[in-house]
Symmetry: C2
Subunit: 84 residues, 2 copies
Amino acid sequence: MARVVVEIMPKPEILDPQGKAVAGALPRLGFTGFASVRQGKRFELEVDGEATEEVLAAARKAAEEVLSNPVIEDVVSVHVAKED
Amino acid sequence: MARVVVEIMPKPEILDPQGKAVAGALPRLGFTGFASVRQGKRFELEVDGEATEEVLAAARKAAEEVLSNPVIEDVVSVHVAKED
C-alpha cells in the first residue's frame, strides 16, 4: 500500500496569521534565530495498490482542485512517501 | 537565508476528522483509488543565516515542544529546504 504526500503552503503574498503567531511565540519560549514562520498543510493519501504515474497525476489534480485553495495557496510538493 | 521545514501528522491512533472529510469528498468529486486521507501540518521556519546543526537542533526542539502537540501528533520530518 503506497502513500502519496501532498504539501500545501499559503502563497507568499498572503498574510499567514497562524505562522505569525508561532513566529511571535518562539522567541518568548527561548527559540531565537528564526526570522519568520509560515504554516501550511500536509496530506497523506493512502493509495489502493501501487503509486503509478496515473495515481500521482490524480493526486496532483486532487491537490490543485480539492486539497488546496488556488487563490491563496500553492501546492509545493506531490510525491510518493518513502516506505517505512 | 535558509529555510527549515517541519512536518507534523496526527498519530495513527488519533481520529482525524479533517482527513476523514477529505477522504469522503474525493470519490464524490471523481477522485477514486484513495483508501484514506490524513491531514497534518507543514511549517517553514526562515532562519537568520546558515542552517547549521545547532539551528536544526533548535528547530527539532521547537517542533517537539511548540509546533506539535506530542499527545496527539508526531513530528515526521525536520529538514533543510532545498534552495529555490
